[in-house]
């Protein structure tokens, strides 16, 4: 049973290194930016107005 679980685990050590991630960084960031742009396009004018108020310090957090 233990052997089976071990075999099912994905091996990441062969590709996961800081150097590899740095190499991929531009690709990863571009893919993430594309997703973000798509999601942000769906923000409503009301939500954008709330963001603006927050930036201007007109929304107070009393927590």
């Amino acid at each position: 049973m233990e052997t089976k679980i071990k075999n099912e685990k994905r091996s990441v050590s062969d590709w996961f290194t800081s150097e590899k991630l740095e190499e991929f960084r531009p690709t990863i960031e571009a893919a993430a930016q594309e997703k973000v742009d798509r999601l942000v396009a769906a923000w409503t004018p009301e939500f954008r107005a709330a963001l603006r108020k927050l930036r201007e310090g007109r929304i107070e957090n009393r927590s």
Binding site: R25, T27, I28, R48, L51, L54, R55, G57, S63
Partner: protein, 150 residues
């Protein structure tokens, strides 16, 4: 904490973090803060990183270490804000179950960091001060400006 996460803290300007989710399997997770069309506003993405450099934000890995993953995600926000003190970080939950997980994680971190963070939850389009136990579709986290005078 996760060794890979420490490495990512030391790398770059805290716009991207990575760490290993170790549960039923080993998965590389990435957290990214990306600028938006709104000034000083960034969106946070959390997803699985694949060996080809793609990031999957929709995946539900059910790896058995959700609490650890969310705790690292919450800490990454603090590291990001320490480098970008004017930033507003928008967190959007893609599903109701994720909204619940996010509110649990942020509620827990609030116990330690609540004095330093301004956290707003959105029900629809109406913002309110974040309250533990309430699920929000969108959450905005920023630094409290009155805590920046050292």
């Amino acid at each position: 904490m996760n060794e890979a996460f420490y490495e990512s803290i030391l790398s770059g300007k805290h716009m991207m973090f990575w760490f290993e989710s170790i549960g039923r399997e080993s998965i590389i997770k990435a957290i990214l803060f990306r600028p938006t069309s709104e000034p000083d506003t960034y969106k946070m993405l959390l997803g699985d990183l694949d060996p080809d450099g793609s990031i999957n934000v929709e995946s539900r890995s059910n790896n058995g270490d959700t609490e650890k993953v969310l705790s690292i995600a919450a800490r990454s926000i603090v590291f990001f804000l320490s480098d970008h003190p004017e930033a507003k970080v928008v967190i959007e939950a893609s599903t109701e179950s994720r909204a619940r997980l996010y509110q649990i994680a942020i509620g827990r971190e609030m116990e330690d960091l609540g004095n330093y963070l301004n956290i707003l939850g959105f029900h629809g389009e109406k913002p309110e001060a974040f309250q533990s136990g309430k699920n929000y579709k969108k959450i905005i986290v920023s630094l409290k400006t009155d805590q920046l005078n050292f």
